[in-house]
Amino acid sequence: MELKNKKWSQEQFFKVREEILNHWPTGKDVNLEDAAEYLKKVPEHKSFPAKLKKAKEEGITLAQPRAGVALVEDHINLLTYLQNEGEADLLPSTIDSYTRQNRYNECEVGLEESRKAGRSMLNGFPAVNHGVEGCRRVFEAVNLPLQARHGTPDARLLSEIIHASGWTSNEGGGISYNIPYAKSVSLEKTILDWQYCDRLAGLYEEMGISLNREPFGPLTGTLVPPSVSNAVAIIEGLLAAEQGVRNLTLGYGQCGNLVQDVAAMRALEEQANEYFKMYGYDVYLTTVFHQWMGGFPQDESKAFGVISWGSATAALAGATKVIVKTPHEAVGIPTKEANAAGIKATKQTLNLLRGQRLPMSKELEEEIKLIKAETKCILDKVFEVGNGDLAVGAVKAFELGILDIPFAPSKYNAGKILPARDNNGAVRILEFGNIPFTKEIKDFHRSLLEARAKVENREVGFQMVVDDIYAVGKGFLVGRPNL
C-alpha cells in the first residue's frame, strides 16, 4: 500500500484487517459489531474522552500512573489498588516489551514463567495473548477509564483487542512508537500501521463511539527540545485526524525549566489547534504532561521531590493530565505501593495547585514564540519535502534529518542533533544537524549555550550533554562540571 496522508477506504481497511486478526489466535474473537455494542455501554465515568473533557472544562489536571503485570488477576489487583489506594484518576495498562515486538510466543513463555515463579516475569500486560476475554475482565473490574500504553511499532492487533474490550484510549503513533522504540522498522510501515489504528478509532467514531488517541509526546525522554517533540506531536495529531480520530491528547515530557515547560505545553496546544483548523479537522484536543522521563535519584525522598516538581509544573501549565513516576523509578518496575505513593504525592501537589497557572510574563511569551517559530520551521519543511503530503513528508524528513530525535535507537533517525541545557536548565541545541531553523534561531541557541559555558569556565561540547544526562540522578538539572 502506498503511503499517503489520506483517509483509508473501507475496502483498504477491511482487507488489511482480515490479515491482522489472524496474527494470533485471540484475533478471531474480535468482532466489530459486538465491540461497538460493548463500547456503547461504557458508562461516562469509564470513558476517556468524557473524563478528559470534564477535567478540561473544570481546569483540573488528572493523574495517571503506568502499570502492568503479566497475569490478568494480578493486573486487576494492581489496577484496583492504584484506583482505590493510589487515588488515580485514569488507569493504564502498560503492555510488555514482547507484545510491543509482536513476539506473542515469547509472551506465552513469560506468562508460563510468571505462573511458576509467582511473580511477573513480564514488564507489562500482554493484552494480545489475553485477548478480548482477558482484557474485558480487566476493564470490568475497574471503575475508571482504561488506556493501553506501550511503545508498539505495529499495534494493529493490540488496538483491535483493547478497543473491543472497552479500553477507550490508545497511546502511540507511527513516529513516536517507532523512532524511540525500534531499531530497524521503517517509518513507512509504522505510519501505515498507525493509520490503521487511527482508522479503527475513526470507524468507531463514525458509529457514535468516542475513543481517545494519544501520540507519545516525550519520544526518547532525554533532552528532547520542545519544538522537536511538538512538531512530531502535531504531525501525528494531523495524521490521526485524517483517519477520523476526533478526540486527541497531545503530550510533552518535562524538560525541567519551568518557563520552557509551560511554554512548550501552551505552544503545543495553541499551535496544534491552529493546524487542525487550517486543515479543516474537527478535533477535541487535550494535553498530557509527562513527569521527568530521564534518570531518577535512587533515594526515594529525592524521587518524591522530582515527582512533585513535575506535578507542580503540570498544574501550572494547565495540562489535562499528568503521567506519574514512582519513588522506585531509579531501580526498575515499582511495587504497587510505590506506584500508589507516586500518585498520591502527585495528586496532593495537583490539588494544592488547583486553579493556579503560571502567569504570562515577557520570558514566557518569548519562549512560546520561540518554540512556535521553531516548530513551524520544521513543519513547513516537512510539508515541503512531502510535496504537501504530511505522511510522505514525515518519512522524507527523517531521512534528511529535518526531523531528528536525540538519543533515538532507530536507524531511520539521523541522530545528528545534539541538545544541551542552557544556564537556566532549558533544553537548547548544540549541534543542529539538518534541523531547518533560521540562522537567527540557531544563533540564539548558541548564545545561550555559550553563556552557560562561560559560567562553567569550559567549552560548549559533548561533555555538557553527558553531564546533563547524569545530572538529575545526582540531584541537579544542569550538569555542572563540579557535580
Binding site: S97, R119, N123, A182, H328, F462
Partner: protein, 135 residues
C-alpha cells in the same frame, strides 16, 4: 594493543541513552568498542564477538526482562568457542525492586563475571574490566 568489547542492549529492549553513554565512556577509556545497539539477540552478541575476536561482552538490560533474555548466554558462548570471554551485565536487570544480592547471585550462577545494579557509573565497569583483563 587495544582490547575489543561488544556493547549492546539485549532482548526487546530499546533503551538507547545509556548505550550511547557507555559507548563513549569505554571508547574514551581506550577500548575498541563494537556497539551493536539496542534490541540485540544473544546470537548478535556472539556473532559480533566471534567476528571481532572480542575480549568481553557487555550486556545492558533496562526494561526488566534481563533475566529471561540473558539465560543461556554463557552456554551459547561456549558452544560457539568463546570459552574465556568475559560476560558483564548491568542495568535494571529484573522486574521490580528485588534484593540486589539475590539478583547478583542469580546472574553469577548464569555465568556472568560481573553484574551491576541500576545507576552504576561507567567508570566502575571500566575499572573492573581493566582489572579483569590485567590492564
Amino acid at each position: 594493543m587495544s582490547k575489543t568489547i561488544i556493547l549492546g542492549v539485549i532482548g526487546a529492549d530499546c533503551h538507547a541513552v545509556g548505550n550511547k553513554i557507555l559507548d563513549r565512556a569505554f571508547s574514551d577509556a581506550g577500548f575498541n568498542v563494537i556497539n551493536i545497539g539496542v534490541m540485540c539477540s544473544q546470537e548478535e552478541f556472539i556473532n559480533a564477538a566471534i567476528e571481532t575476536n572480542a575480549d568481553a561482552i557487555i550486556v545492558s538490560s533496562l526494561y526488566g526482562h534481563g533475566e529471561i533474555d540473558c539465560r543461556g548466554l554463557r552456554e551459547k558462548c561456549e558452544e560457539a568457542g568463546l570459552k574465556d570471554i568475559l560476560l558483564y551485565a548491568g542495568g535494571n536487570l529484573v522486574v521490580g525492586k528485588q534484593d540486589w544480592s539475590e539478583v547478583e547471585k542469580r546472574f553469577k550462577e548464569m555465568g556472568f563475571n560481573r553484574v551491576y545494579p541500576p545507576g552504576t557509573s561507567p567508570e566502575i565497569g571500566i575499572k573492573d574490566l581493566k582489572n579483569d583483563l590485567g590492564l
